[in-house]
Amino acid sequence: MKLLVTFSRKKMREPIIARVVKETGVLVCIDRAQIDSAAGEVLIDVPDKEATYISERMRAMGAQVRILENAIIRDENECVDCGACISICPREVFTFDEEWKLQVSEERCVLCRRCVLACPHHALSQQE
C-alpha cells in the first residue's frame, strides 16, 4: 500500500522515516521524495497489514499521512487508447489488454506526472 507522507521541516527536523523504520522494524520502500528547506512530501510503499501502524507512528511524530488511492485518474471520454503513456512511465502503470484497450495499474504509480504531460488527449490527471 502506498502512503503519502507530508511534513513541515520548519517545526521539525526529525528523521521520521528512519525513526519509524527503526522503531517498528517494518521495511518501507521510498518510491519518491521531494524535500526542500520548508517541507517534505514522501511517497512510501509499505506492507498492507502494517499500513495503519506505520501511519499512526508517523502521525505521532507530526507528519500527515494519507493512503494514496486512485493516484492516476483516466478520463475514459478523452482517452483514445493510443498508448503514448506506456513507454514513458517508469513503473509500467499502463499496458494494453488483448483488444488494445489501455489498462491502468494505478497502484504502481509513484506520481511522477510524466504521463499527465505526455497524454496527447489530456485524459490523465493526478490526484492532488
Binding site: 483514445v80 487508447d81 493510443c82 498508448g83 503514448a84 506506456i86 513507454s87 514513458i88 509500467e92 494494453f96
Partner: protein, 502 residues
C-alpha cells in the same frame, strides 16, 4: 479468376457481399490459399486512427448585414486563413490559439464544432464599398455554417519512421515525449491494418474513391502532400463533410512542447479483384519496415539507429544499442480497428459501395527537401577564433589571470592532449575563492559536462543550446574534441549588426 467492381457492387446491393477487416486477411489466405481467398472475400476494409497534423477544414459562414469581408478571422481565438473571398476561410489543425497557447488549437475548434459546441467567430476588415462592415463577433454552431468541408492535405501515411532520443535530456516532439538515453521509442500508424500498405501499388486507392473519414463518408482527392511512393511513404489528400463527422473518430490533441494536432480516423474499402489484390491485402506487420530515427539530432536528415517492423513495434519492446527499450504507439490501434469494423458494417448493409479511382495516384514521386537560396549562417562564420584555454591541472589562480587578461567569462579546460574536458567561468572562480576547501586546481572546480557546438552547426541551433541550458558561451570543437573557437552571445549579436554577410 477475376472479379469486376460491378459484380462486387451487385453483391453489396443484394446483401451477399463478404467483407472482412484487413487484420483477418492473412489467416484467410493461409487457410484457403490465394485463389480460395479471392473466391471467398469481396472487400477488405482498412483503418487507421492517429495524429495527422496536416488536416483542416474550409468554412463558408454566410454573409452578415451589413456585409463584411473577413480579412482576418479567429475561431475561439485560433486564426483561420481568410484570403479567400469574403466569408470563406480555411482553418488548419495545428494553428495555435492566441490566448490559450498550445493546449488549444485549430484541431480543438474542429472537435468542438463536431461535438455540437458553440464556437466564437471574430473577424475584422478594413471596409470596402461592397463590404462596408469592419468587424463582427458571433457565436456559431456547425449547423449555422453553409459549408464545413474537411480537406486534409496529408493523411494516412503508408508507414512512419519510429522515434527515439540519444541525447541526455527529455525531448518533447510531435512524436511525443522522448526520454533521454534512448529511454523509450514512439511510433505512429496502424501497420498492416492501415489503408495504403494494403494497396502499395495504388491500384484501388486513388482519386475519387469513397473512404471513411472522421466517422463520415469522405473521398480521396489525390496524392497527399509529401507523397513519396518511390520511397514507400505514400500519402493521401482527403476530403469529407465535417457536418457528418463524429467526435468518436475526430479528436483534438496536444503534443506537449509541440502543439495542437488532430487525430483522424481514415479507412478505405479495398475490392478484391484478383490474386494480386489478395496478396497485397494479406500483408502482415512483420513485412512493414521503418527506421528508428534519433530526434536528438537537430537536423532534417536525422540518423537512423536501426530498422524495425511494425510487428517489433507492436510487441511493446525493441532492442536499441544492446538494451531493451519500451515502445509507445501514438496512434490508437483499437480505434483503427473500430474504423475498419465500422466501414465493414457500412459495406455489409449496402450503405457504402466501391468505386475504382477516376485517376490513379502517381507511383514514382519522391519527396524532396526545401531548396534554400539564402545560406544559413554557420557557427564557423561568427565564432571567436581567439581561444584562451587552461589545462585541468593548472592552478585556479592561473585560470583567474587568464579570465581577466582575456576579458572573457568562460575558459575551456583541456587535458594533456588538448581535448576539451571542462569549462570554467568567472562564477566558478569566485565560488572557489569563497570555498577554498574544494581544492586549488582547475579540475576541482570545472564543469565537466560541457555543452558544445561544432563549426558546421547552424547558428540557430547553437543559439537554442545557449537558451535551453541558460548559458552564455559554447566551446566550438572539431571532430577530435579540440577547441577551435568560442561562441558567445556577443558573437550572435554580429548577425544583427550586419557584420555577417550573406
Amino acid at each position: 479468376m477475376e472479379k469486376s467492381i460491378h459484380s462486387i457492387n451487385e453483391k453489396i446491393r443484394d446483401g451477399s457481399v463478404h467483407v472482412i477487416t484487413a487484420d483477418r486477411m492473412p489467416a484467410i489466405v493461409q487457410e484457403l490459399g490465394e485463389e480460395g481467398a479471392l473466391r471467398e472475400v469481396d472487400v477488405v476494409t482498412t483503418g487507421t486512427f492517429g495524429a495527422m497534423c496536416s488536416s483542416g477544414a474550409f468554412f463558408n459562414f454566410g454573409h452578415s448585414d451589413p456585409p463584411l469581408k473577413m480579412e482576418h478571422l479567429w475561431l475561439n481565438d485560433v486564426e483561420a486563413y481568410g484570403g479567400i473571398a469574403a466569408v470563406d476561410a480555411y482553418l488548419g489543425a495545428t494553428e495555435q490559439s492566441t490566448t490559450r497557447g498550445e493546449s488549444y488549437g485549430g484541431a480543438h475548434v474542429l472537435e468542438d464544432f463536431v461535438s455540437g459546441g458553440s464556437v466564437e467567430l471574430r473577424a475584422i476588415s478594413r471596409g470596402t464599398d461592397c463590404y462596408p462592415r469592419r468587424n463582427i463577433t458571433t457565436d456559431l454552431h456547425l449547423e449555422d455554417l453553409n459549408q464545413a468541408v474537411m480537406v486534409n492535405p496529408r493523411n494516412a501515411y503508408q508507414r512512419y519512421n519510429a522515434a527515439t532520443n540519444t541525447t541526455d535530456r527529455t525531448l518533447f516532439t510531435y512524436m511525443g515525449m522522448l526520454l533521454p538515453g534512448c529511454g523509450n521509442l514512439t511510433y505512429s500508424g496502424a501497420g498492416a491494418l492501415a489503408p495504403l500498405p494494403n494497396d502499395p501499388n495504388l491500384r484501388t486507392i486513388g482519386s475519387g474513391i469513397p473512404i471513411f473519414l472522421g466517422g463520415a463518408k469522405g473521398m480521396v482527392i489525390g496524392e497527399g502532400t509529401q507523397h513519396s511512393p518511390a520511397t514507400g511513404f505514400a500519402t493521401l489528400m482527403v476530403t469529407g463533410d465535417l457536418k457528418q463527422m463524429s467526435p468518436d473518430f475526430l479528436r483534438a490533441a496536444t503534443m506537449y512542447g509541440y502543439g495542437a494536432t488532430l487525430y483522424v480516423g481514415v479507412g478505405a474499402a479495398i475490392p478484391i479483384l484478383d490474386v494480386d489484390m489478395v496478396r497485397s491485402t494479406a500483408i502482415t506487420d512483420d513485412q512493414i519496415t521503418v527506421s528508428v530515427i534519433d530526434y536528438g539530432i537537430p537536423q532534417r536528415d536525422r540518423p537512423a539507429l536501426r530498422s524495425v517492423t511494425y510487428a517489433d513495434l507492436k510487441s511493446g519492446k525493441v532492442e536499441l544499442r544492446g538494451e531493451e527499450v519500451r515502445t509507445s504507439p501514438l496512434s490508437s490501434y483499437r480505434k483503427a480497428l473500430q474504423v475498419a469494423t465500422t466501414l465493414k458494417t457500412w459495406v455489409e448493409k449496402g450503405e457504402f459501395t466501391i468505386a475504382l479511382p477516376t485517376r490513379h495516384l502517381d507511383r514514382t514521386m519522391r519527396s524532396r527537401p526545401l531548396r534554400e537560396t539564402k545560406r544559413t549562417p554557420r557557427v564557423r562564420e561568427i565564432m571567436d577564433r581567439q581561444v584562451v584555454s587552461v589545462t585541468e591541472d593548472e592552478l585556479i589562480r592561473t585560470a583567474a589571470e587568464k579570465l581577466l587578461k582575456g576579458e572573457t567569462n568562460h575558459i575551456p579546460v583541456l587535458d594533456r592532449v588538448g581535448k576539451l574536458v571542462g569549462i570554467v567561468t568567472t562564477y566558478d572562480v569566485s565560488k572557489a575563492v569563497l570555498r577554498p576547501e574544494k581544492g586549488g586546481l582547475v579540475r576541482d572546480i570545472m564543469t565537466r559536462r560541457v555543452i558544445r557546438t561544432t563549426p558546421e552547426e547552424t547558428v540557430d541551433i547553437a543559439a537554442q543550446k545557449l537558451e535551453k541550458n541558460n548559458i552564455s558561451a559554447l566551446p566550438v570543437v572539431d571532430s577530435e574534441d579540440h577547441v577551435i573557437g568560442m561562441l558567445t552571445a556577443i558573437d550572435l549579436g554580429k548577425l544583427f549588426g550586419g557584420r555577417w554577410q550573406s
